[in-house]
């Protein structure tokens, strides 16, 4: 039995094509996924992300506990801020990548990927034994609606939400607000490479919020967007996807996320010893690849330098915005800066060059 989000009937009304994602019945697209992608780059898109896991961490030791349980120094962020972080296992492998919101001195919200919700919840509970905190899974009662794109602020401002002015809500900040008498969180975060917001709201109020945003968003070119567009948007923005780029087999440094690990923080944290030891010298590293033409390397395709197999693609697509193929790949460190690579696209070698992330950066 697949999980359905509180917005399932909305997606059916909109004629969505559904796909299974981590056991959830999620909208893949509503019409053209390229049009959805473009809407986010040029106007705005609305996404149902209610499959994500929301886990509340509260109590006197909440900050110290998260410093131990996660790789970043969460105790040092101020109230009203968000931070991207990683959960590691004892071997330094990546259990999940998460966003942590500090909502009060002793009150945090950890947002985990849908497929890792159980693993993150379980690890947080296990790791909390010697701390004065409570760890509560609020996922079932929480819907998440993202509005992303250059017009997203105007749309949310038109939706009748009582909040502080959004002009003062900067990137990676969060604020409490009220919609139709319901508490919600407005966060200026996202996974698209555009300005945008993520709205956390009680599940029973999600449909009304979505329909309001849809109505007021019409004049701003707001378009419902599915997971297909979400994937090409995050790929262009150079953001890793758990299960593709991030797995328990990878250390943060291999994924280019070494700076997310706060080795300078006091005290132990799960995975510290392994991260300090670092990956093997010849362990593969994550790079970006660009190619010419229109044939994209895709997950699992091999990467060559000359006749030598040097790595494998983890995500790839013909970039809708840039018009040429882009990919993420794990390659041998010696090939990580090579401009003479090739992707084996079903038997044909497509020349590719290593590049830095992101592939696409919005104009400031």
């Amino acid at each position: 039995m697949k999980h359905k989000t509180p917005l399932a009937s909305v997606h059916e009304r909109l004629g969505a094509t559904f796909t299974d994602f981590a056991g959830w019945d999620m909208p893949l697209k509503y019409g053209s996924e390229l049009a959805e992608h473009e809407a986010v780059r040029t106007s705005a898109g609305i996404f149902d992300l209610s499959h994500m896991g929301e886990i509340r961490v509260a109590g006197a030791d909440a900050g110290a506990f998260l410093d131990f349980a996660l790789a970043g120094k969460l105790s040092s962020i101020s109230v009203g801020r968000a931070k991207y972080s990683l959960m590691l296992n004892d071997s330094g492998g990546i259990v999940d990548d998460v966003i942590v919101y500090r909502l009060g001195e002793t009150n945090f919200l950890v947002v985990a990927n849908a497929g890792n919700r159980a693993a993150v919840l379980d690890a947080l509970q296990t790791r909390s034994s010697s701390f004065d905190v409570t760890v509560t899974d609020e996922s079932e009662d929480t819907a998440l609606i993202a509005v992303q794109g250059p017009n997203s602020q105007a749309i949310i401002e038109a939706a009748g939400i009582e909040s502080e002015p959004l002009d003062s809500l900067r990137y990676y900040r969060v604020v409490e607000a009220i919609f139709e008498g319901e508490d919600l969180l407005i966060a200026r975060t996202g996974y698209t490479g555009e300005d945008g917001f993520e709205l956390y709201i009680p599940a029973h109020a999600a449909e009304s919020l979505w329909e309001t945003l849809e109505r007021v968003g019409e004049q701003y070119g707001l378009r419902p967007c599915g997971l297909a567009a979400r994937d090409t948007l995050r790929l262009e923005a150079g953001m890793p996807l758990y299960g593709n780029e991030l797995t328990t087999d990878r250390l943060p440094e291999q994924a280019g996320l070494g700076k997310i690990v706060a080795l300078s923080k006091d005290g132990d944290f799960v995975g510290r010893t392994a991260v300090e030891r670092g990956p093997e010298q010849d362990a593969p590293v994550l790079i970006g690849l660009t190619a010419e033409g229109r044939r994209a390397g895709r997950s699992g395709y091999e990467v060559y330098e000359g006749d030598t197999l040097v790595g494998v693609v983890t995500s790839g697509a013909l970039s809708p915005t840039l018009g040429h193929p882009i990919a993420m790949a794990y390659v041998a460190p010696a090939s990580a800066e090579s401009s003479e690579l090739a992707i084996d696209v079903r038997g044909k070698r497509i020349p590719a060059a290593a590049t830095n992330f992101p592939f696409y950066k919005r104009k400031a």
């Binding site: 390229l34 229109r294 895709r298």
Partner: protein, 119 residues
Amino acid sequence: MAELKYTPDHEWFRFEGDVATVGITDYAQNALGDVVYVDLPEVGSTFSGGEAIGEIESTKSVGELFAPAAGEVVAVNETVADDPTLVNSSPTGDGWLVQLRFTEEPELIDEVAYGELTS
């Protein structure tokens, strides 16, 4: 205009004499998503039954064009090679892919049988 025949691989065939115009169905284009690239065979090339003679790529995945029986490529749609979105906007019209002449009888199903497969 001759009625369409189908394969369970979601390809359609319209015969005029011994030449079949071939494309992918509306169901297939919707499942594939926005088509961004098509790779078509060379005119005059021959193929055997079950061989993949072309590729249709969307942003998310790759579909292959299978020949249901042995034969020869008579023509390819150069317009769709330049504008692959025709596969989405007009899968059984301007978005046709190739014209084939078979040297053996392909096993095809009619519209009713295909409709049952995709319902």
